[in-house]
Symmetry: C2
Subunit: 114 residues, 2 copies
DNA sequence: TTGTTATATATAAGAGACTAATATATACAG
DNA sequence: CTGTATATATTAGTCTCTTATATATAACAA
């Protein structure tokens, strides 16, 4: 629904926010969660997700744990303390970003920042 | 201030919105306007801007006109009717995007989209 | 008159992130 | 026994932007 170009840069932040908000999650659940929260407007594909998760792992922002559920292996990703800091910073940035976009999208009459 | 990765995909939309909102503008003015509106949080650099403007021109979304002001040449970019349609669509998309980001950034208690 | 800042446009190499396609495998319903 | 949902993962290629660079005028200060 929303052009992927517009949201692609925010996917890493979205992943961090979900892990911070909802605790340890596995990849498939992350994609489903984004789908539900945004009503399908933002799609977190596996090709985007796994490189993000693997990079977060290399950066020590998340750790993984394998769990078997219904005979299927699930890999849960959990934030580390460093990951929690990174998430907080990214979320702060995200909120600033939203504010900036709102200023551009819905300029107030008489407020021209001149 | 905001990581460029986060906003880079929205620069084209921002350019279209400014041209739609403020009429014909030249490149330098576009960069200054973004700087002022966002308080310096989003930077529209020339390396990003000119490829965007040239692409919009190839797509017949904008036309250019050269004008001399203070002995300096300025190249003004104006939306064509096609450009106006494209701008409207991109702005609609931008608003949806903002809404989606807000849902992620500030989830309402009790509202889990399950 | 020399240096600096602001104004003004533009390109190019390279980096980085993502998309689309593909591969694999289990569970369960009809 | 076929299709759908669940579940993880990689890769080639694309696209956009960043960083660096080039050019040139105007205004102002020292």
């Amino acid at each position: 629904m929303i052009s992927n170009q517009l949201y692609s840069g925010s996917l890493k932040t979205i992943v961090l926010k979900l892990l911070e908000e909802e605790g340890p999650m596995h990849g498939y659940a992350l994609t489903q969660r984004v789908e539900k929260i945004t009503g399908g407007k933002i799609k977190l594909t596996y090709g985007a997700l796994y490189p993000i998760l693997h990079k977060l792992e290399r950066e020590n922002a998340v750790v993984t744990s394998r769990e078997v559920c219904n005979n299927r292996v699930r890999i849960y990703y959990s934030l580390t303390p460093e990951g929690r800091s990174a998430a907080a910073e990214k979320i702060r940035e995200l909120k600033e970003f939203i504010e900036s976009l709102q200023r551009i999208a819905e300029p107030q009459a008489g407020l021209d920042y001149a």
